[in-house]
């Protein structure tokens, strides 16, 4: 159980082992994180081992194939732990939730927390292969990510929402963390961008993950995810996500 009030992180099956890498794919820009993380869970046949509940989450359950599902689920296999959500994270639980996730990973002695997201790209239509941008919680992590090839530095900008807060909490708590972003449509589900992230992650994790099935089912996936995208768009308006299109003020 986590220590932050109103949030509980429950391991139904205790997650054991050291050097765990946590991947978070909460819905935001282009649903890049949500698509990429869910795809990895699916391809690696990861086991559902727990869930996160927050008092302020909407009173909903997911039903899939006659099975009752938690809204925010934790999956595990070998060294990889993935967290995915069926709903966008409501703005007012972003801070406590990020705190408790970082707390929890810290207590599990996790090696790295990876957030996946999209960078809103107005000219996405003209981009065949979206570029990957990376940022680590400390310079050594960033260097490690850049060395993998195929990634650019995220130099200046804002990161809004839970991805930004997780990174900040990680820095404060001394947990190694990184954000991996792909150029994406702002409010259309973007499996193409998610595919780029998955192939980058497969190099980072040293695990073979074929992205072809993802790209082949892209159009169908986009229609399936239309509802989640609409809801996510609503939430993004409440957290100044458009700020990501701006640059922080620099006076010198």
């Amino acid at each position: 159980m986590s220590q932050v009030e109103g949030i509980s992180i429950v391991e139904v099956e205790p997650i054991q082992g050291g050097d765990l890498i946590f991947i978070e794919g909460f819905p935001d820009v282009g649903l890049v994180g949500a698509i990429a993380a869910s795809y990895i869970v699916d391809r690696l046949e990861m086991r559902e081992v727990g869930y996160i509940d927050a008092e302020l989450l909407p009173p909903l359950i997911s039903v899939r194939n006659e099975q009752i599902k938690e809204l925010i689920r934790i999956y595990h296999r070998d060294k990889v732990v993935a967290i995915i959500s069926d709903v966008p994270i409501p703005p007012y639980i972003i801070k406590p939730l990020s705190q408790s996730i970082v707390d929890w990973i810290k207590r599990k002695d996790g090696k790295l927390l990876i957030s996946i997201s999209g960078i809103p790209e107005p000219n996405r239509l003209d981009i065949e292969k979206p570029e990957i941008y990376v940022l680590g919680s400390r310079p050594e992590i960033t260097e490690m990510l850049i060395k993998l090839n195929g990634a650019n530095r995220f130099k200046d900008g804002f990161i809004a929402g839970i991805k930004g807060m997780l990174l900040r909490e990680a820095v404060r708590a001394g947990l190694d963390a990184a954000i991996i972003l792909a150029q994406a449509h702002y409010n259309y589900p973007d499996p193409g961008a998610a595919g780029q992230v998955v192939s980058y992650l497969s190099r980072l994790l040293g695990i073979e993950i074929d992205v072809k099935p993802l790209l082949e089912s892209a159009e169908e996936l986009r229609l399936k995810l239309r509802d989640l995208m609409m809801r996510t768009d609503q939430v993004m308006r409440g957290i100044q996500k458009s700020k990501e299109l701006e640059l922080p003020p620099v006076y010198l």
Binding site: N187, A218, E219, L223, K224, R226, R231
Partner: protein, 138 residues
């Protein structure tokens, strides 16, 4: 002490819930009305964006699973209308159509409209209609 903190937290939570309930009630109404309209008519309203910049109006719409030859696009002076078949097996099977009627933020010259369909996204760009007199600056 613990008890006292807990009760304050409860009250804050309750207040949050009340505000949230009010906000999501309005939001939900929007989603429900849209969904009902879609179910009744068998049409799907695609996700879309309208941008207005300088002398252009640009619209993009997410129309996965359609094709360039089947998209019907009508441009009026202040609207775009898009109709296209949606071939996905989802959402009630074959025969579903995308229908989108968007009122534009500025009048356009319909003869200047250009459109392209790429990877499931339709983009329509038009020049604004500019009516006025040229004024000399003193």
């Amino acid at each position: 002490m613990e008890e006292w903190r807990r009760s304050i937290w409860r009250r804050i939570l309750d207040e949050f819930r009340r505000i949230e309930a009010e906000m999501s009630r309005m939001e939900d109404e929007f989603f429900r009305l849209m969904r009902e309209a879609e179910e009744r008519s068998g049409c799907i309203m695609p996700l879309y964006n309208v941008y207005e910049s300088g002398d252009e109006v640009r619209l993009t719409a997410d129309l996965p699973g359609s094709s360039k030859d089947e998209i019907g696009l009508i441009a009026g002076e202040d609207y775009f209308r898009i109709e296209a078949p949606c071939r996905s097996p989802l959402r009630g099977g074959e025969g579903r159509r995308y229908v989108l009627h968007v009122r534009l933020p500025a009048k356009i010259d319909p003869r200047t409209v250009r459109a392209r369909y790429k990877e499931g996204v339709l983009e329509v760009v038009a020049k604004k209609k500019i009516v006025g007199y040229k004024i000399r600056i003193d």
